[in-house]
Symmetry: C2
């Protein structure tokens, strides 16, 4: 499944990402069946590609690594905005790249770990601006002052939708999910002000929306049920056009050719929006000159794979 809801590939980096994707070794990735195998393959530089569809059933995570002085504000940002920013783990202490404090009850998240090497590719920001793009590791940038945060990703519920005969359109067509900036404000936290929700969109028949809501509701640690649905949602969220995405691929009708916007108003295809894992990275960038120093993150689509399984996050926080 071409699940990329956690990717934050902008139009400008998409070509570069595609090039990297196309260089993926199918032989290699077919031998990786667990999160731990994926991390080891990143560590020895044999896995350097996007991770969608890799090691099915294992959680994948967005990664953001901040100077420790911003850690409590970022933690609070996630706590105040748990739908777009579901925090699943963080460094056990400042500087810890090999040990996590898990927020998934009963799951250690990742035992054999080196956060400087274990994502396939990384982004490096200085003073909230991109300084290095798609590098293979961040060993040179990591300091004893850095704190890593792992944020949930929607791969889990996409698999669940597919398992219930409701596969996301973009996956069926082998495209990236459509992602949009919105005007919906995040609740600010310390230095993190001015942020807004980023949303991902998957079209479904209106008659299936209740079922889609039910299936994804349980995945609270990976964005949970949709934020909104229906064609009138565009105005509510402040999205100018369903055909103009900010990340990912523009959405298409079932024929794989017609732009989804041509069906505006149809009940056979309504846009359904979820909180998106791009939101935390946007929040870091939006904080602008309030964020000084080196910030690291996974490169778009190049997620950190975990030992936790999809089922570990189902309703874990609200039982």
């Amino acid at each position: 499944m071409a699940a990329v809801a956690c990717s934050s590939s902008s139009s400008s980096t998409r070509d570069q990402q595609k090039e990297i994707t196309e260089s993926a070794s199918e032989t290699l990735t077919s031998t990786i069946s667990t999160g731990n195998e994926a991390r080891l393959a990143c560590r020895n530089k044999s896995l350097t590609t996007v991770t969608s569809g890799l090691a099915p059933g294992y959680l994948q995570a967005n990664l953001i690594i901040l100077p420790s002085r911003y850690a409590s504000d970022f933690r609070l940002l996630c706590a105040r905005n748990p739908v777009p920013c579901p925090l699943i783990a963080e460094s056990s202490a400042p500087g810890a790249y090999d040990q996590l404090r898990s927020y998934i009850p009963g799951s250690a998240v990742a035992a054999d770990l080196d956060l400087r090497h274990d994502a396939p590719r990384y982004m490096v920001y200085r003073d909230a601006r991109v300084a290095r793009s798609h590098v293979l590791d961040v060993a040179a940038e990591w300091t004893p002052d850095h704190v890593a945060f792992l944020v949930g990703c929607s791969y889990s519920f996409e698999s669940a939708l597919a398992a219930h005969a409701l596969p996301p359109r973009h996956a069926v067509l082998g495209r990236n999910v459509a992602m949009y900036r919105t005007a919906v404000p995040l609740c600010p936290a310390g230095v993190f002000t001015g942020g807004t929700y980023v949303v991902s969109m998957r079209p479904y028949p209106l008659r299936d929306v209740d079922r889609v809501r039910e299936i994804t509701r349980a995945y609270n640690a990976t964005h949970g049920e949709p934020l909104d649905w229906g064609w009138d949602t565009l105005a509510r969220l402040g999205i100018a056009s369903i055909d103009e995405v900010q990340w990912g691929d523009a959405p298409l009708a079932a024929d794989g050719e017609t732009p989804l916007g041509a069906l505006f108003g149809s009940e056979d295809e309504v846009p359904v929006f979820w909180g998106c894992g791009v939101t935390p990275q946007e929040a870091v960038v939006k904080a602008g000159d309030k964020i000084q120093g080196t910030v690291m993150a996974h490169a778009p689509g190049h997620m950190l794979l975990l030992d936790s399984r999809d089922e570990d996050v189902v309703k874990s926080s609200y039982d």
Copy 2:
């Protein structure tokens, strides 16, 4: 301090509430110095008035009591929207009116408790519409199927602001805090769809906003730091006029006479908005015909007093 941020008195019920307020016995309330004393006074029907300023230092809570079939959806609504809907406790089991499951680490919330009697006055809804208003108890309505939820209230941080020489304007003037509906969507949860944030507003000089944010940030279980601030916020939140409140009293300048809107654009007085405890009640009403049966709540301003102290909620969730 006339802190009433948790009040949900609409214009239509304000006269009734004022009448009830004016009948308060000052002799009685001056003898109540703890949350437990307040609950006992409600239980024997000697305390029947609004609770602002009562038993300083003790937490006060919004109360919503739902048929058990809506409990998990409401719990999820709070989990997905923790800033306007900070859940601090709930019935230990369906039907339990005398025992709570606390979400405040290390605090039992309220030991000697009867949720059918211990708020001064109650609202009763049938099929999401008001059926009884300002009744003294809900003993006749409570069933073994009902689950009570306690939601945090901003009294705590108002006391903290006053203690730091930044008393809220409405408290200084002896008025109710200004509250507004916004266009900012709640993250929906099950039957709770279509809700939007309700916000409370306290004006401060722009130069004091950072300090105000710092002081209130720690009170994460009672709405925490502001959602937004400044005059351009009105457009972002979808508030037509600062002088047209939906609950509470219209805000005034420091002279106690000039409508705050006359200062539009001034940096000496900017509106600062917080998540408001009216939000959960609004969410119940907005759910409309998806909520069948009997729902109960405290009457606006007639809060449930707890054994927990203000300091118990400071950063309790994020240490």
